[in-house]
Symmetry: C2
Subunit: 535 residues, 2 copies
């Protein structure tokens, strides 16, 4: 493939200032034992931070400048903090993405490029919430960050017909050639390197950036390996991406990720920093160990097996690749009920029956909707919208029947982040489920979006009525377990309190009910130690 058009790894719509989601307030609380966390949120953070707030906004900028609100008026323009991107530019963006998606159907078959969660199980598992957040986070970073630097190592183009395999090293027993790929209408590298050989390798030598991307198609089992110099003493690390379905392994400076069969063309995009840390941190205990290891230099790329490769690059970021990796993971993994079953046991706490593997989460459903709606808006590919619409399925089914719907006191519908028995009424997860419905309703149009709109309205009615139950007068409560299982209130720590504020501020920008404005004001005051009045 040629890079005659814009670099494919990044689509930059605007260069608004970077407003990474963060605790909105770093003021010291006078209220007690909790201090305010202001650490930035990374989707790879292993300590279960509150998620980022996203929503398609009908009134751009109404949420104020303190929180991160990527906002879009989809078909006509994109606005980020009031900066209007021209319709023309958006159109070209959409067009390019459409091409990117359409020219390789195998994009839906990839098994890579999304984070693996280890929060509730040491072996790692795919967690739809984390994957959707990963996608949304990259979607928003693409809107707000500077364009990345892209270093191109090989495009297999005919710049020097004599040295057709340069700059590759091809040891004895291995073969490398340049061939025309008809389906792609571009030159690619064909390689053959037995497992027992050193493999064909490409010198990289990049010390600045760590996002590796390449197009690959295997004709056998095989692997793509990367040699990394790191901040640790001793030999370099090697990360192997192998054509298997294993998830992750680590032994003796060798980290292995399974990336699936890869027998059709696909783009492999990996964050080497993340892959290094996640591998090195791997343990048999519950959580991944924190590690400070950093890559210093990407030394070289090594291929084994038989197949084709093209467009080897290293770049600062590849947000759109990450966004579509997430979107496409969601497309591939949605089940026949429209849900993303979560395959780990979740124990919410005393008094609740554990959620056995296969449960749905309204938060996963909602954040997946938010992701898929954006993929649809970018690509205009109806499959994304259809998947988002289908994702409403579990909202309509009670928790006890494998759905996510709870009803508070026989009156108020609530979509459960954890569809426990008894119900748990987790506030932030519910609001994310509503934001997904909102995004979908706004995007799908009156007819297709009617049902989502009704679910949204019922949920908002519940939220407006029940929100006071989460207000302690000096902070907020994470869920209603105190009422449901007769226990102490599960106070929200400050970063969740801040998430609540951000979410409500967002809702205040799309619904002018006074409660949102009032609660945001009061709950912000709690951050400063200003409590509600006593009698």
């Amino acid at each position: 493939m040629s890079f005659s058009t814009a670099p494919s790894v990044s689509v930059k719509l605007t260069t608004s200032r970077t407003l990474l989601p963060r605790a909105a307030c770093a003021l010291k609380s006078q209220g007690g034992d909790a201090s305010i966390s202001s650490r930035a949120y990374s989707t790879h953070n292993l300590q279960s931070p509150p998620p980022v707030v996203f929503c398609l906004q009908s009134k751009a900028g109404a949420g104020g400048g303190e929180i991160y609100l990527p906002s879009a008026r989809y078909e006509k323009l994109l606005e980020v903090y009031g900066k209007v991107v021209s319709v023309r530019r958006l159109r070209s963006f959409e067009f390019r993405i459409q091409v990117r998606v359409r020219d390789d159907v195998s994009v839906y078959k990839r098994v890579e490029g999304v984070p693996l969660s280890t929060q509730w199980g040491p072996q790692g598992y795919f967690y739809a919430i984390q994957i959707a957040q990963y996608g949304l986070s990259h979607y928003s970073k693409n809107l707000t960050e500077r364009p990345p630097h892209v270093e191109v190592y090989d495009t297999a183009e005919d710049r020097d017909s004599r040295a057709s395999t340069a700059p590759w090293s091809v040891p004895k027993g291995c073969v490398l050639s340049r061939v025309l790929d008809k389906t792609r209408a571009t030159s690619v590298r064909q390689f053959s390197a037995p497992e027992s050989s050193e493999g064909v390798s490409l010198q990289l030598g990049n010390s600045k950036d760590f996002i590796l991307s390449l197009d690959i198609k295997f004709a056998s089992n095989g692997s793509v390996s990367v040699i990394l110099e790191t901040t640790e003493k001793g030999p370099p690390f090697t990360i192997h991406y192998v054509t298997s379905t294993q998830l992750i392994a680590f032994k003796d400076h060798e980290i292995t990720y399974g990336v699936g069969p890869r027998n059709v063309w696909s783009t492999l995009t990996r964050d080497l920093l993340t892959d290094l840390r996640k591998g090195v941190g791997l343990s048999n205990t519950k959580a991944v160990k924190a590690t400070k290891i950093m890559p210093r230099r990407v030394v070289r790329l090594i291929l084994h097996g038989r197949g084709f490769v093209d467009n080897v690059t290293i770049s600062t970021t590849a947000h759109m690749a990450a966004f579509f990796a997430a979107s496409d993971w969601l497309m591939r993994n949605q089940d026949e009920r429209g849900g993303w079953p979560i395959m780990v046991t979740r124990k919410l706490g005393e008094g609740f029956r554990p959620l056995e593997p296969g449960w749905y989460s309204a938060m996963a459903q909602g954040q997946a909707m938010s992701t898929l709606v954006r993929a649809y808006l970018l690509t205009k590919d109806q499959v994304y919208l259809d998947a988002a619409l289908k994702a409403t399925g579990p909202y309509k089914v009670p928790s006890a029947q494998h759905g996510v719907k709870a009803v508070f006191m026989n009156k108020y519908d609530w979509y459960e982040e954890y569809p426990t028995t008894p119900s748990s009424f987790v506030l932030n997860g519910f609001i994310y489920s509503l934001l997904g419905l909102y995004d979908l309703t706004e995007t799908a149009g009156e007819k297709l979006g009617r049902e989502a709109g009704q679910l949204f309205s019922r949920g908002m009615e519940s939220l407006k009525a029940m929100l006071p139950l989460f207000d302690t007068g000096s902070g907020s409560i994470y869920d209603l377990r105190h009422f449901m299982v007769t226990t102490a209130p599960n106070l929200a720590r400050w970063d969740y309190h801040t998430t609540h504020i951000n979410q409500l501020q967002l809702l205040a920008s799309i619904d002018n009910a006074p409660i949102f404005k009032d609660v945001v004001k009061r709950w912000k005051n709690y951050l400063k130690g200003i409590r509600a009045k006593h009698n």
Copy 2:
């Protein structure tokens, strides 16, 4: 009347240590802006303190030693903190009280001896909650305080037949004589003193005690006046108790209380300290002004009009007189629905319709029950028990139909201290209403008490379910207005929080549901600044 039996002003069952209700904890909170109030509660306190906790207890002493719990096993024995009073002594007590009540039916017609509230209206009004608390407070003080000192000034007995009017002064135009009252079978003073005269007067000269008591029967309009030297400079004050229905007036060192016609024998018992302060503090503004004025010496008693007088005493306390004054006020003022209508407008706050004069309060009903049940236990007079049973009436009627019953979320019955629209769910008032039902259920027996028992059970079910909604993780909430009218939580100040704890500790002693024990423990910790955990 002769004092040949024990002094009638005090019935002392036991001399347990004095445990006046007070804030249970004086520890400093680390939790914020509220400091812990530990001031003792007086029924005359004008700043609307939380009320005292009373309850007949089935398991004596189970509530622990920190709160005040007068406890009784009625017909067989009285226990106060495990000190058992003999059945014989209780029986003689009951007998004496029965005589006291029965020998003068006019006791039900008196208009005096109970406090006048000025909390919500400067002109003063009778408030059933305050009167019941006044009675209960004196009931408990009688159980726990030392017997009072009683100074007897005149019994009209024939100790000195020559100086039959000594020690009285009888100016010109006035008459005083000693006569036999056949209905009372005792000597009494007959007096006649025109309004224009100085009046017949009795030198008192008591600087130690300030509870005046006398038996009186007027044959015309008239008055009993007391001259008081006080801590204020200038002339002494005069307090007039006049045969009118006016409530209270104050002008130029003259304080006037109406005590009704008094044309049959009744006992007038007055706390001169309270009457002095309440009169001097009278103002046209909302609340009575606080004043530090104290009586120094009760100089003399002056009578005007025509009538009879007997048994003039001054004593330290007259708790049983006060208790029966309260009980009998409740008997006289109960209406045909069993309620004690409150004749002032009560505005609970924004979002609530004002309660117009005539509203009932579940707290008044409950505390009246607690009072009347004790009067019944002391006297065995069925009229008290019948009145207590009748007092359940408003519990069964919704607030909107002039009752006190609210229903939370269509599920939980709640008896409203303030039967507002929308409902307000004041916690402490509800618990008092339950304690009244409990006292009544325990006293009335299986058949008569069945309905009260059902109301109690339904209320306890509601309390157990809803109590967590009042828990902020660092304190408690006074009511559910935040949920009902979508506002900030109305945090309970520390003395109300302490009242909540005392009430729940009491409930823990009569119901072993874990919630009471757990909440008491946690809420006590809040007093020490130990908050609930955050997530």
